[in-house]
């Protein structure tokens, strides 16, 4: 055994130790994470089901995360909180139900972790999905016309028909969201991480 061998072996032992750390300690830290119960007795984060869960699948299948993140960075690191993207940074507990999480790595568009707090209007989201530049001039978001259908107005205007600022594009016809659009907007309406968690001091 020469000196080089002991050097290499030492480095390798360090690596094994680091792997023990990378696997063991996060597991220990995160294994017991459960949702918290807020003042109204509701578990947060809420486990997605029904339309919200279907909407999450739409979000994934359409690739929304390639332009939108869902993680609020800590105060003082970037300006996520100063921009109003969250009251607090997001934590591991916020994602206990997410298999897989959609944290995202690009902010071509704004962060959505608390979009339900910032923009609770489903009607706004539907119009924005149909034609983003109607609600947000200069936006680089693409349109999602395939999430909507055109319907002839019979007797009554459907309750969920999109209402355009300058009137319907085609007289006698309205744009109506499909179930997919409704699910996606329900999911966006569930994105609220403003509840307090023990990891973040108020």
């Amino acid at each position: 055994m020469n000196r080089a061998f002991w050097l290499y072996l030492g480095v390798l032992v360090t690596v094994v130790a680091s792997f023990m750390g990378l696997v063991q300690i996060p597991d220990h830290q995160l294994r017991g994470l459960e949702p918290v119960t807020d003042e109204q007795g509701v578990e947060r984060p809420v486990r997605p089901e029904g339309g919200v869960l279907a909407g999450r699948q739409e979000y994934i299948g359409l690739g929304c995360l390639y332009c939108h993140s869902q993680q609020v960075r800590p105060e003082g690191f970037g300006s996520d909180i100063a921009r109003g993207w969250g009251m607090r940074r997001t934590v591991a507990r916020d994602h206990v139900w997410d298999a897989p999480p959609v944290l995202g790595t690009m902010r071509t568009g704004p962060d959505l972790a608390n979009i339900a707090v910032r923009q609770p209007s489903a009607a706004w989201h539907l119009l924005h999905l149909y034609k983003p530049r109607l609600t947000s001039p200069g936006s680089l978001m693409p349109e999602y016309p395939f999430l909507f259908t055109e319907q002839r107005v019979e007797l009554e205007r459907p309750a969920d028909a999109l209402s355009f600022p300058t009137g319907d594009p085609r007289p006698g016809w309205v744009i109506v969201p499909t179930q997919r659009a409704r699910d996606l907007v329900a999911y966006l309406g569930s994105l609220d991480h403003s509840y307090p968690v023990p990891e973040v001091r108020p």
């Binding site: 897989p100 944290l103 016309p145």
Partner: protein, 485 residues
């Protein structure tokens, strides 16, 4: 003459035996390597189309929005998977099979199984990108293809691994050259990591931020334990072979390999700085990323000192141009990567186009240019033909080199400015968005230039593979006694 040796006239048996053995080895690689290489070039072309689509959609979002399979959120992952698992991985496999055959001085085993593997890989990738376009993508970055097809890829990886181990077991050389060590890293470690990540994330064994950490630990290993080792192995073999001079410091090259093998796969969590992970886990990723300075500087010094005195050869060797460009880019992108993982810098560039520019610097300026160089060296030796036009090769080189420089420069600046604006809460977000548009147009122009290079390259490859002119009887000779029995 692009490298096919002429048969010596009746001299001592030694050199002739060696020449014929090398020719026999090259010949044994022919069908599988040409299949993987040809497929890779086709995926490069299709991947470039999807790249241009994605690039244009980013600054002109109203383009082609009514057809759902072409929505940006699907075009972008389809582009990534076509270029990574199509162009990069298939050219990588072609080169690593040939290189290991050369290094072991052993013939490529079970070629028919490898050919089947290549066909299956193409089908699986086509199916995978079809699935993404149909809305069944997983939105787990770099693992968007659904689990079923990932298992098919893993099966082909296993065949490649088996071929590599077989050649090593049958090797006719005493020394294990540094490139072989790098390729072991690629063919032995990476398939297991690929399987693990797919199983852990897609089979639901992990969720939440654990799944996120697994995701980025894996995605960074595609670069660190798959593409980088293949690229470096290629450069370590081709620079000395082309210039006819050995590596400057072989000791350094081994140190560089072992330190890379140990440190690279720690770096993955640097993709999640500021995110909801335990802080220490992110710090470990940063430390691993900064430690990479050691192998990167080592490799950079080694390549440079090897080239000293031989830079004039860049004028007359296509392979050398591409491979030296790749080597220099490796140093640049890795130093940038180490710096980018520092929190103070990451605070600005995270979530911006800066990261996209960095990724392309690595996968294109380093890896793809190394693959171009390798294919310019390998294909004539497998087909026995010459490239049809020196001028077109130069067009390809300059289109790709200028293209990636134009891609990286403006997008890095634009991304940095985007990050600064985003960190200023007084700047409305829509203004942050519109501020990126001119830089994005620059990227589209650069991408168009790169695509021109790809079209030229594809033309050259097609001429070489499909040419009907008879291959000259050079280096093919009669079978040496005892072979092919």
């Amino acid at each position: 003459m692009s490298g096919v040796s002429t048969v010596p006239n009746g001299s001592a048996d030694g050199p002739r035996q060696e020449l014929l053995a090398r020719a026999a080895i090259d010949r044994s690689c022919r069908a599988p390597v040409l299949l993987f290489a040809g497929s890779a070039v086709l995926w490069l072309l299709v991947g470039s189309v999807w790249a241009l689509l994605a690039a244009v959609k980013m600054h002109t979002p109203g383009l082609l929005t009514s057809w759902e399979p072409l929505t940006f959120g699907r075009v972008r992952p389809v582009h990534l998977n076509m270029t990574i698992f199509g162009w990069a991985s298939m050219s990588g496999i072609a080169v690593l099979l040939w290189l290991q055959a050369r290094l072991a001085r052993a013939r490529l085993p079970f070629p028919n199984l490898l050919i089947a593997g290549g066909v299956v890989w193409n089908l699986a990738l086509a199916a995978g990108v079809w699935e993404i376009s149909a809305g069944h993508g997983t939105s787990v970055e770099w693992i968007e293809i659904p689990l079923f097809w990932a298992l098919v890829f893993a099966a082909v990886f296993a065949v490649v691994m088996a071929a590599s181990l077989t050649m090593f077991a049958r090797r006719n050389v005493a020394h294990v050259y540094v490139s072989q060590w790098y390729l072991f890293g690629a063919v032995l470690w990476f398939p297991f990591l690929y399987l693990m990540a797919n199983a852990l994330i897609h089979a639901g064994f992990t969720r939440g931020v654990t799944a996120a950490a697994t995701n980025w630990w894996f995605a960074h290993n595609v670069l660190g334990l798959w593409l980088t080792p293949i690229g470096l192995a290629t450069i370590y073999y081709l620079i000395p072979k082309v210039i006819g001079a050995p590596i400057h410091s072989y000791h350094l090259s081994l140190l560089g390999f072992w330190s890379l093998a140990l440190f690279y796969n720690w770096a993955g969590t640097h993709h999640l700085i500021g995110g909801p992970l335990p802080a220490w886990l992110v710090t470990v990723g940063i430390v691993g990323s900064v430690m990479m300075f050691v192998p990167v500087v080592t490799v950079g010094i080694n390549h440079h000192m090897t080239m000293v005195g031989h830079f004039h050869r860049l004028a007359d060797s296509p392979t050398l141009r591409f491979v030296v460009f790749a080597g220099m880019s490796y140093t640049v992108v890795s130093v940038q990567g180490s710096l980018t993982s520092l929190r103070s810098i990451n605070e600005i560039n995270h979530f911006t186009h800066y990261t996209v520019a960095h990724a392309h610097l690595g996968v294109y300026a380093f890896f793809s240019m190394a693959m171009f160089g390798a294919l310019y060296y390998v294909l004539p030796r497998l087909t026995g033909r010459e490239w049809s036009s020196a001028r077109l090769i130069k067009v390809h080189f300059w289109a790709s080199a200028a293209g990636i420089a134009l891609y990286w420069g403006p997008l890095t600046v634009g991304g940095w400015l985007q990050g600064l604006a985003m960190n200023n809460p007084d700047v409305p977000f829509l203004e942050v968005m519109t501020g990126t548009v001119s830089w994005l147009w620059g990227r589209t122009a650069a991408g168009a230039l790169m695509t021109v290079g790809h079209l030229v390259f594809a033309w050259l490859v097609a001429r070489m593979l499909l040419s009907r002119e008879p291959a000259p009887a050079v280096a093919a000779g009669p079978e040496p006694a005892g072979e092919g029995a």
